[in-house]
């Protein structure tokens, strides 16, 4: 059972197979703090991607020998649910998941003040419930929010987005068919405050000039994601604030009555 591949991925009017413009990101929906047990959590939908991220920590580290004497050890597990892709994926971690767990961890480490909590572990879990290309970027975006949700002090949020080349044209935020059928895909993670690229991968073929253009495009996408992340964080607390403010008004009303 294989998916039907669209005839062309981009038509003559530069409209992509899912109706988007070349530099248009997919629809994003973010919710912060949705899991009860985790110290911090976030859920993201990016197009058809559905990804959950959660943090436990800082907490005691097991096994003990993994403890770092001068900082918290960030441990990350990126995992795809068997039903997340077209052809069922075995639950056992694949080599791809191993590699992604590593690069995702390395993308988030520069953002946390790990040196404040020596000898502890900060455990990050990313579960891909449904995948449609760009899961590592969406995963990083959610993971960074869950770290902030856990109250772990950070230098900045890490925002991630991919750009690439499909049928000769440079595009932003490739979905699965574009990634598989395109010329190049470049996922990128970025911390705007420090102008820091913390994740950079690319597969495909790009001339030196195209490489720079695609990277710049991905950076712009990351900046957009950063705004969405901030809004999602504030949205969670605005509700609390508004409820509290209402009570304050009621309180004042009662006082004057």
């Amino acid at each position: 059972m294989s998916q039907k591949k669209p005839e062309k991925l981009i038509d003559e009017n530069d409209v992509r197979s899912d109706g988007r413009k070349l530099n248009e990101m997919r629809q994003v929906k973010i919710e912060v703090g949705i899991l009860g047990n985790a110290d911090g959590s976030a859920y993201i939908e990016m197009g058809k991607n559905k990804i959950l991220a959660a943090v436990y920590g800082p907490r005691e580290i097991h096994p003990r020998h993994q403890a770092l004497p001068d900082r918290a050890a960030l441990r990350c597990r990126y995992h795809m649910a068997p039903f997340s892709v077209q052809e069922r994926k075995s639950p056992a971690p694949s080599r791809r998941e191993h590699e992604l767990s590593k690069v995702i961890r390395e993308s988030l480490e520069p953002s946390i003040f790990a040196e404040y909590y020596p000898r502890t572990a900060i455990d990050l879990f990313i579960e891909v419930l449904q995948a449609d290309g760009g899961t590592r970027c969406a995963g990083i975006t959610a993971a960074s929010l869950s770290l902030a949700d856990a109250g772990i002090p950070m230098r900045d949020l890490v925002s991630a987005c991919a750009a690439g080349k499909v049928e000769g044209r440079l595009v932003l935020d490739l979905n699965d068919v574009e990634d598989k059928g395109g010329d190049a895909d470049m996922p990128l993670a970025y911390m705007p405050t420090m102008n820091a690229v913390t994740l950079l991968q690319m597969d495909g073929m790009l001339t030196g000039e195209e490489f720079e253009q695609v990277l710049s495009m991905a950076l712009e996408g990351c900046k957009q994601v950063n705004q969405l992340q901030k809004e999602a964080l504030k949205a969670k607390y605005k509700v609390v604030k508004e409820a509290a403010a209402e009570k304050e008004d009621e309180g004042e009303k009662e006082a004057t009555e």
């Binding site: 502890t120 109250g151 604030k241």
Partner: protein, 243 residues
């Protein structure tokens, strides 16, 4: 000398709060003369000092703090205790017994067993080792009655109030004994479950509205209202019993 936010505005990690001659306080960091937030919270600027009131943070042990702990494990020399922090704490036998510890004679589980709750003080803590506790001072030791609740540790100062005004008022209004741990745990022991429930309600209200002013008055009012309604209910019940 720009400041980019107003007091009580919500900020997120990485937000640029101020530049140049400001001093950075809690939940911020300074780099190249610029001050940024490290946590989600409310921006506060007082004189030249900028800090963020974090909406979520976890307890970090400090020497001298009174904490409420739960025994997780009895070991050869003491008790491994959970104090709701990134680090487990240790209560050594020598910090629980007034005389020297004799392994053959002294049975540690009879003093504190797994699951027991204690009020303890942090006597030692630094970056290289887990916090050490003691129960050898007045007011410390095993807790045998009451209810425990947990709140965000950053709200504890609000529960205590200026010079203990808030907690003092709650104790008076509810008649409960209340022990506060800096690690966000509070033990409430009252004459009846109803009294304890009132105290818990008050503390939850403080947790929700910690960042708003006039809180002490509002909590007092709420408690009185609850108590008033309770006694009204009792009168009604008594009346209906009589008829």
């Amino acid at each position: 000398m720009p400041v980019f936010y107003e007091n009580r505005q919500l900020v997120t990690p990485g937000d640029l709060l101020a530049e140049n001659e400001y001093i950075n306080g809690e939940n911020t960091y300074k780099e190249n003369g610029k001050i940024y937030a490290t946590r989600v919270g409310l921006f506060v600027a007082e004189d030249k000092r900028i800090h963020v009131v974090a909406l979520k943070a976890f307890y970090i042990p400090m020497v001298g703090d009174t904490v409420i702990g739960k025994v997780l494990e009895v070991t050869l020399g003491g008790w491994v205790t959970d104090i709701r922090a990134p680090y487990l704490a240790m209560l050594r036998a020598s910090d629980a017994l007034e005389r020297p510890f004799k392994p053959q004679k002294d049975d540690l589980p009879s003093l504190f067993d797994v699951g027991d709750i204690m009020v303890a003080k942090i006597v030692a803590y630094d970056r290289t080792r887990d916090p050490l506790l003691t129960v050898l001072e007045r007011g410390l030791g095993k807790v045998s009655r009451g209810q425990i609740i947990e709140i965000t540790s950053t709200k504890i100062p609000r529960v205590i109030g200026k010079q203990g005004s808030m907690i003092g008022m709650i104790k008076e209004e509810t008649g409960c004994q209340i022990t506060i741990g800096q690690n966000g745990r509070i033990i409430i022991s009252g004459k009846s479950p109803e009294d304890e429930r009132l105290a818990i309600m008050a503390i939850r209200k403080i947790e929700q509205e910690a960042h708003m002013s006039g809180l002490t008055d509002r909590v007092t009012e709420m408690l009185r209202k609850e108590k008033g309604e309770k006694s009204k209910k009792e009168v009604v019940e008594n009346v209906s019993k009589e008829t």
